[in-house]
Amino acid sequence: MLRFIIRRVIVIIPMLLIVVSLTWTLVRLAPGSFYTGEKKLAPAVEKNLREKYGLDKPWYVQYGKVLKNIARFDFGNSLKYEGQSVNQILLRALPVSATLGITAYLIALLVGITMGALAALKPNSWLDYASMTLAMLGISIPNFVLGPLLVLLFSLTLFWFPPALWNGFPSKSLVLPALTLSAIYIAYIARLTRSGMLEVMRSDYIRTARAKGLSETQVVTRHALRGGLLPVVSFSGPALAFLITGTVVVERIFALPGLGNYFINACFNRDEPLIIGIVAFIAISVLVFNLLVDISYAFIDPRIRY
């Protein structure tokens, strides 16, 4: 087990290197620069700027500097938010995104598993069709449509929730963004739970559990859920990683100061250190969460040993 973990942690390094290199190349290939604006700068000013930020040096020196920074987990200063380091921005924005992401995921787990399990216990019943129709809607409606619709209904018509505000957790302002964000995850989890549970409920050991005289509730909670939810666990790793590290669209719709919003701004501003910082952070999160999922398998299924 320990050897497995060490091996997987070591693999993170080359993966991160690839992601960062690709990102850096793309940023450099894109036309324009962080100092490009409406007005054309005087050549002397531009030269000074390039010197100040080391852009006059050959590309391998600049690339080497980026790698050096990452190795020390110090991404340097933002080019746009003056006087702020990328790390400061990450630390400020991460709690916002993480709060939103975790809330959305908890909602998705609760609603999704309930819907999926109910559907699986009574396959082809109206309950099954209703929850699978909802799941289909959840997958089909993009969040940039769902978000504004919710705002229109609950903020601008019923005045129940603010259309755009951040008050942390728990607060009324969290409700709409979390709902918008969770919709597609509810749908995925419901479908995963349904198919996982349907398969397990047909298995021989469930028949054994029934033959013991256990009630249907006991059969499901004690014997079926564990095996039936394995697909949800494997889905949870990458899903949580992406949710916590910020969601571009939802944070934009509700104007939340999270990582996703900063990422968009960074891209518009060609804020190279911030872009690379956020991308590296997301990459590490995805890799780490996948590792966590693989480790948790060993605890859920005793047959799995690393």
């Binding site: 021989d204 033959a211 013991k212 005289g213 014997h223």
Partner: protein, 335 residues
């Protein structure tokens, strides 16, 4: 507890249907049989003959839908099991009637320690505390011959071999000292040497507890060594019922005769192994008349036209065949 005539279980005209895309299929069609106290009844038949469905129906364990117990009585301990509420039938399952299944590899929950799976039964039915249930679980594992039971009790199913897992299943089934043990092909998935051990174990535990056993199998060798009486099933119908010895010596049914002939005989070197020609019928499209007629060596015109009668040859020997009496007479002269 037992009914007056010494029957522990008495099944009358049991019909179980499954709804499929092909229409409604009668998996079990009007079968009747009894199990006496302390007796071992063998149920024999090819795959798909309805033997498993019939026995799952005893505990109302067939998946509904698509399955449905359409009619019949299942009398156990003076009550009709088909009329019990869900709670009442659950109280019987695992306590007074227990089951062992065919494949011990998949019949135990792979995510749960064996100890927990064993303790669950006695905690539920005997009101054991955790400590009591654990002690009982270890005792049961010792009884079924698992070495180092107090250590192995906390293992997971995958840490046991197939034979050992079937022993665990047996320990689980016998935890509450059931009056009836239904063993559904308990040795089919096991090696031949392990088969003998498991059968011997069932026999031994049965003699100790005095439980009745229903042994479902397609292996006539197993039937010969284990059972007091045999029921032969084909196409969801009961084809013959007789004391084991009589069935082997004087069968009165062409299907049973075919089954007996297809047992390999190690003393004859040259003969190729006999097999009953044809395939079991499609239950959704049964021919009129006798369902075995298309494969039967003796079939005559009447067999294809009329459903055969259930002929009572002696008090304990019945056969579903137009020519039961004739075959019975022939086998007598042969014997």
């Amino acid at each position: 507890m037992s009914t007056e005539n010494g029957n522990l279980l008495s099944v009358r005209d049991l019909c179980v249907v499954f709804k499929t895309e092909d229409g409604t299929v009668k998996a079990v069609d009007g079968i009747s049989f009894e199990v006496k106290r302390g007796e071992t009844l063998g149920i024999v038949g090819e795959s798909g003959s309805g033997k498993t469905v019939a026995n799952l129906s005893l505990l109302r364990l067939i998946p509904e839908p698509p399955g449905k117990i359409e009619s019949g009585f299942i009398e156990f301990g003076g009550r009709d099991l088909l009329k019990l509420s869900q709670t009442e039938i659950r109280g019987l399952r695992g306590k007074r009637i227990a089951m062992i299944f065919q494949d011990p590899m998949t019949s135990l929950n792979p995510f749960m320690r064996v100890s927990k799976q064993l303790m669950e039964v006695t905690q539920l039915h005997l009101g054991h505390t955790k400590q009591q249930a654990r002690a009982h679980a270890i005792k049961m594992l010792e009884q079924v011959g698992i070495p180092d039971a107090h250590e192995r009790v906390d293992s997971y199913p995958h840490e046991f071999s197939g034979g050992m897992r079937q022993r665990v299943m047996i320990a689980m089934a016998l935890s509450c000292q059931p009056e009836l043990l239904i063993a559904d092909e308990p040795t089919t998935a096991l090696d031949v040497t392990i088969q003998a051990q498991i059968l011997e174990l069932i026999k031994h535990l049965k003699s100790e507890t005095g439980a009745s056993v229903i042994l479902i199998t397609h292996d006539l060798g197993v039937v010969a060594g284990m059972t007091d009486r045999v029921v032969v099933m084909y196409a969801g119908k009961l084809f013959e019922e007789a004391p084991t010895r009589e069935l082997f010596e004087r069968t009165a049914n062409p299907y049973t005769k075919g089954l007996l002939r297809s047992v390999p005989d190690p003393t004859s070197e040259h003969e190729t192994l006999y097999q009953i020609p044809g395939q079991p019928p499609d239950l959704a499209h049964l021919p009129p008349g006798c369902p075995f007629a298309p494969r039967c060596e003796r079939a005559e015109e009447i067999c294809r036209r009329e459903f055969p009668p259930f002929v009572e040859l002696t008090m304990s020997h019945r056969s579903l065949c137009h020519f039961a009496n004739e075959i019975y007479a022939e086998t007598k002269s042969a014997a």
